[in-house]
Symmetry: C2
Subunit: 672 residues, 2 copies
């Protein structure tokens, strides 16, 4: 834990006594019951001495030090043998660049770097200072979108996307905080992991094995791990259109059609060998030139890595300009080899991309080794606790196995989250070694009938838990959904308390941020136009542009509400090992979400009125719900307005009135 302690010593030595660093007041008020450092409040903005503030945060974190080695995963620290800790976790999803971005000048506009030397975009140091805020909220997993070195070429907005990975092993330098001058970004990240572990928060990271940035650092040593096309083909490079087929993932018997298509043939003609194969001698010179390796290859060889595209035939989405596919097999897909001429250079096509379905015969073993060593590197260097694997479903199953088994061999309790949006693939994900799926609760919550089915039919039968999200970095914000002012309360309540749920708070959700971070799922292009046009971040998406959340506009209402919900979940935790039962109501309307858990004669019943326009009166039949005779001694009702003991006992029917979009937690014979 030397890194975190070093930070503390360093920061303390730098204290200036000048309060010139503006911070969201939430970071102070939700982290400290009383802040003992210097504080100036001007026009509602909070100003601190940054060295003092960060040193006090770390001091607070270090109070939890029991002398253990917090550089190891929490599972290793605790001697856990499996990742069942995921079952009782509460997750916060962050894109640190945006999550802890703030205009630290306290006036004018947000600038990624400002004249005072403050890094206003997010840093690991600021993530450390957010940990007590998250701890107080009830969070015990901090999930971070990719924090590895991002590429800056072929970018869609102001800055590279975190998913355009230039180097999966290196951390992005912009995450170093210049306040910690002289301490490198690795040390700063180590300190973040240590601080999280001291607070009982696990660190889960996002990894992207299938693609790389167009100018990946890997090109230098392994140009043959990439596909290459002639530069002059770039302008017209796109997935070939195959009019004979619909919009679909190709099947083996589509290959005949695909490869007889003229556009496909022209497409194949665009590819070339890798530069080391074209001219090994020249390559030795070019790889050692200064400047951008991709730029030098483009100039000297006239070739370049192509943009990625979807593995669906006739997918209308444009090419993925900031990413390129890694060459997972040294040969062409086995089923496609008959269609390809002998001298065809390695190429990208729907089948190649979907290598889980169309593998080659010769795995690119050195690449597979490299890819499956990425997570172990983070485990050994930083002691991370878990990972989400991006597009795992598109990987050859053997590669996916390698990635998972290597991670598990280092740390059998390492948590693995599948990027699996289909709830019905829970069994598949489990069989592949994942402990958890992302799922699509964020889709269901915005549609009352779907939400009902989701809660009643899908969730109870899962074989692995799902990430219970009202919103994700890819989706619209819950508060901006239709009836968002009701859904923002109802959706997290029903999701977070549901069986098999891992409550998930999306960065910004707790301050009712309305701007999405990306438009990837369930949104339209208009989704980015929701802020007032005079807002500095109007039209900006955190995935592609600098972005800071609207901390100053926020009151504490949603934070307090979510904190309360997570507490409820925690206090009810014993019940999730009890018996799950649907609730027997006097009638079913398909819009009254309901579930209950029973420990002996103690029951916890949750009802939610998914009708956002109409009040619902319901009667709960206790014996029928419990599936046995239960002597009702007392009934307590909890909703977001408060808790009350109902004047009921020795009855079988509990009457409940739910306002539109409201929910109720009914406790039978116990209290929490």
């Amino acid at each position: 834990m030397v890194e975190l302690k070093n930070l503390h010593v360093f920061l303390k030595s730098k204290i200036t006594g000048k309060t010139l660093y503006a911070l969201p007041k939430q970071w102070i008020e939700r982290s400290f019951s009383q802040y003992s450092g210097k504080l100036s409040i001007k026009d509602g903005s909070y100003f601190v001495d940054p060295y003092e503030y960060f040193s006090l945060v770390i001091e607070k974190v270090l109070q939890n030090d029991t002398g253990a080695d917090y550089s190891k995963s929490l599972a290793q620290l605790k001697g856990e043998k499996d990742a069942s800790w995921l079952m009782s976790s509460k997750m916060y999803g962050a894109l640190p660049r945006a999550t802890v971005a703030y205009n630290h000048k306290g006036f004018g506009s947000f600038e990624p770097e400002d004249i005072f030397g403050y890094r206003e975009s997010g840093t690991f140091l600021k993530m450390i200072s957010l940990l007590p805020y998250l701890k107080n909220l009830g969070i015990n997993i901090l999930y971070m979108l990719p924090i590895s070195k991002m590429s800056n070429v072929f970018k869609k907005g102001e800055i590279g996307s975190p998913y355009a990975v230039k180097n999966p092993i290196e951390l992005d330098d912009t995450y170093a905080d210049p306040l910690l001058e002289g301490i490198d970004v690795q040390e700063q990240f180590k300190a973040l992991v240590q601080a999280a572990h001291l607070l009982g928060i696990r660190i889960v990271l996002d990894f992207i094995p299938r693609t790389a940035a167009r100018d990946s650092d890997l090109i230098k040593e392994h140009p043959d791990w990439f596909y290459w096309i002639k530069i002059e083909e770039l302008a017209s490079y796109k997935p070939p259109y195959v009019p004979e087929l619909p919009f679909k993932i190709p099947d083996p018997n589509d290959l005949d059609i695909i490869y007889s298509n003229e556009e496909v043939k022209r497409h194949l003609g665009k590819f070339t060998l890798s530069p080391d194969k074209i001219d090994p001698e020249k390559w030795e010179k070019v790889k050692n030139m200064g400047g951008s390796i991709l730029s030098n290859i483009a100039k000297e060889f006239g070739i370049i890595t192509p943009p990625g595209f979807s593995d669906w035939v006739n997918d209308p989405q444009p090419t993925w300009d900031d990413a390129t596919f890694l060459r997972l097999y040294l040969d062409h897909p086995a089923l496609s080899q008959n269609y390809i001429s002998k001298d065809q250079p390695p190429y990208v096509l729907f089948d190649v991309v979907k290598s889980s379905k169309f593998p080659g015969n010769e795995p690119n073993i050195p690449l597979w080794e490299y890819l499956s060593d990425i997570i172990p590197t983070y485990q050994q260097r930083y002691g991370i606790d878990g990972a989400r694997i991006d597009m795992g479903h598109a990987l050859p199953s053997k590669l996916q196995d390698m990635i998972i088994s290597k991670a598990k061999s280092n740390d059998p309790a390492f948590g693995l989250i599948a990027e699996e949006l289909e709830m019905k693939n829970d069994t598949k994900a489990k069989s592949e070694g994942y402990e958890c799926i992302l799922g699509n609760s964020w889709y269901a919550v915005a549609r009352a009938r779907e939400f009902y089915k989701f809660i009643e039919e899908t969730v109870p039968n899962l074989v692995v838990p799902f990430v219970a999200s009202c919103e994700t970095p890819d989706t619209p914000r819950i508060v901006y959904r239709e009836n968002g002012n009701k859904l923002k309360y109802l959706a997290p309540a029903l999701l977070y308390l549901a069986p098999n749920a891992i409550p998930y708070i999306n960065s910004g959700q707790e301050i009712e941020e309305i701007q999405p971070m990306n438009l990837g799922l369930d949104n339209t292009i208009y989704g980015k136009t929701v802020l007032p046009p005079n807002d500095q971040f109007y039209g900006k998406l955190a995935f592609f542009d600098y972005y800071a959340m609207h901390w100053s506009n926020a009151d504490d209402n949603m934070y307090d509400y979510l904190k309360w919900l997570l507490e409820m979940r925690e206090r009810l935790s014993d019940f999730y090992n009890g018996e799950f039962r649907y609730v027997y109501l006097n009638y079913q309307d398909g819009l009254t979400a309901n579930y209950s858990f029973w420990n002996g004669n103690k029951g916890t019943i949750i009802l939610g009125n998914l009708n956002l326009a109409q009040e619902r009166y319901a009667e709960i039949f206790i014996n029928e719900t419990a599936g046995k005779g239960v002597k009702v001694e007392n009934v307590t009702s909890i909703n977001r307005y408060g808790k009350k003991r109902l004047p009921l006992s020795e009855i079988n029917v509990v009457p409940v009135t739910l306002m539109p979009g409201d929910f109720s937690i009914i406790l039978i014979n116990h209290d929490i």
Copy 2:
């Protein structure tokens, strides 16, 4: 003219034969009747070898070489003694950074610098290549927004505004084209001026003497030319609110109220002496530290230059964060000195800002000399032809005189445009030495009744010409105004053909660009939301963000129309020295704009129907219009659909039907 020729030689020597550089097809088709270089067309995009393309453009320009010294102003070349050339000029207004920005990769997104080493944002080299396009359009003045070194601090968007001038003498380095590696930006600009002069196009630049960037290069040598406040005051720094006064420019008898106000007193308390006065010895060290001078001063002295603000009391607009006022007087305003304590450091307030009205007693002579030497420097180095002076009206009149007289003493025919939006100030502007005012035609055109008055009452009586603009870099685009599909034809027709008009085309107007470059005038915050949200430049403003015009979406219709209008103006040029007469119609409805010019019995009559919803039938009484008996021998009618000889002679009444928003040019006894 060595610079332009050098560029030519350099470019020719670099020709690769590879067509990998995408260009708007308009730049080629409107510049060359036949392009003799290599050209590839892919999916509608035009690709050239950039070295070949630019060398061919310069070759074309050099065909006009008569051996004169094109590094001098055209007026000097021609031996002109006054700036009456402005009277027959046709102006194109450009912000080169955006005007010639283009995604030269030809695929993916626009990037200011790309992996191929292309500078996709505008450069002087690309402005050179636009000159034949402008020449063909009929332009003979290229007016450019500030091209001097821009600041990158306290910026409002992705990049610094051209009005945040870090160094007024130096050109901004981003205007150098990396294709011309090794040739510095000054040489590239010299080549641009030479090329323009070869084509008979004059170069007019925009200068901003009243303010500087917050981190101006001038601070290093002249810290006392700036105002300074304590850093801790920045967060609450704003123009003090004076509830006893309305929203107004202060008068001398408001000073008593202003200076007794408590907020004003607190405001005055925020200022400090300049760093050289606070600690001369320390200053000597700090000024020679590496890195940002302002950052070093902030760190070492705890002081900083304040943002600018309006000279109106109680102006609701926020502070101008990217600019700071220059200290034009060494003492406080003469009329305010009684209110100020002896030890008050130099400060900024409404009176100080409005130094034209509230001068001090001690002009800051070295600064005045510096400011008035800026234009002469550009005259001598580059041979520019004219200048617009920003906020000249807020300068002390003696300083304004110095600026103008120094420019004129170098070049008596140097053109000076006043930033004067009020048409009624034409006399004042003339008396101050300006040849031309900007005016506010862009405001009038969007309002039928105002437009009528503007054409009928304002324009004919001007003592200096005005810039006849339908849109400017600060205003909404004409095509995006209400009824823009009609106004985009009608407004330029009536304006460009009007007396005292200098036809002005705003960069992008000729391709019907809808996104404004700034929201400064006659717009709301919604003005920046006009593009489709999936457009890369949605919500972006060229003043603050990277921006490229939508060349690919444009057809040639508007270019051809504006070209035709400028030709009409040119062919009619003799008439503007003839007699101006209103048109005598059978009735006046206040919406039929009309004017005419007479040379003997030859008349040119212009009618425009400002009613955009209704057709207008009118009868022109020829004798009454001409103010004399005119024997009508032939009548020709021209409108945007064509020209026809009317079957009329020896009559007095010419009947005309104008469709809604249409105009007509009626020629009596002549043809053009």
